[in-house]
Symmetry: C2
Subunit: 200 residues, 2 copies
């Protein structure tokens, strides 16, 4: 029987998505699953729910800052809260979509390196200079990245991902779908693990 | 050295607070702590953050319904989603405040029985008939409950609890404070446990 992947909808500017990005592959591997990474832009998701991002809500913003650094320690993941935050991520996402379209093994490297550039090294991943530097580490020429970022088909794919995410019920990031069961938040990883073990 | 209690801010209509109410005492006991139960009304908290309750947000409402029943199974807690939902809880809270003022050991019983009446038995805890029935189980006369619910001092205590909650940063329920560290959500219980063990 073929097993479906763990589908992970995420935005590169989402700190809890970054935490999940570090942990989801070992979890999937323990259960013979793969991960399907689906980059989206969170803006339309917040529009759909009618809520402002937590980082713009009184009380929640303060709580989130404290919870994030504590959750990172709890999970054993290196994390430094970046400035500026949040940032636009459509360029980083389009490059990923190009690599995914080409079925390149560099796609997963791109994900981890972009997240690390932002949440470990504090670099502004909204700008092409930082993305060029990440690309160079993977032997991707800057001109290639620029071309992908301007490509209409990749822009359309990113929009389509957003539609797919909303159709799957995405109400925040990270958002997982495992065998049609939705899970929101890095704090649901223990439930995902139990789900893969026992369909509780 | 005296140890401070686990402070738990909650609203009787909050399902995740109910889940926490079942689990927090054994956790506290494992670490030689007590629980300080602080009933509040969630309305002013949502006003302060500017967000509507999740149950009134598109996508989040659908997700929450599924997440709640799955989280209850994951945690091993009996849960049936009640109708109507949410309900007004000031009467249930005022009775609790009266019992707490009297340092009555029935206070904790009241908490568990009101939560169970709503989230296990599906009874509308906003109405006095249901609260009377819960009270009878604890040998509290209905007239006593009615008198407490009308008492200005208890109304004022409930308002003051809300102020205290906002001052502590409460941005949702359940909201815990452990040695000045805030934790939001029943899904943070594992972090609270680690905190009590190791101050990570």
């Amino acid at each position: 029987m073929p097993v479906s992947p763990i589908i992970l909808f995420f935005d590169f500017t989402s700190p809890y998505s970054y935490l999940a990005s570090v942990l989801v592959e070992p979890l999937a591997a323990r259960h013979g699953r793969s991960v399907e990474w689906v980059p989206v832009l969170l803006g339309p998701v917040f529009e759909a729910t009618g809520a402002r991002p937590p980082s713009q809500q009184p009380l929640k913003a303060e709580y989130m800052a404290r919870d994030l650094s504590r959750s990172a320690r709890f999970l054993g993941v290196t994390y430094h809260h970046p400035q500026p935050f949040p940032v636009a991520t459509q360029q980083a996402a389009r490059v990923l979509l190009a690599l995914q379209r080409a079925r390149s093994p560099l796609a997963v490297d791109w994900i981890h390196r972009v997240f690390e550039a932002y949440f470990v090294d504090g670099q502004d991943i909204s700008g092409m200079p930082v993305l060029h530097a990440v690309g160079r580490g993977l032997r991707l020429p800057p001109e290639q990245l620029d071309a992908w970022c301007a490509e209409p088909e990749l822009k359309e794919r990113l929009r389509a991902n957003g539609q797919r995410a909303l159709a799957a019920g995405m109400c925040g990031a990270p958002y997982f779908v495992v065998d049609d069961e939705p899970f929101w938040g890095v704090d649901r990883l223990p439930q995902i693990e139990r789900w893969l073990q026992a369909r509780f």
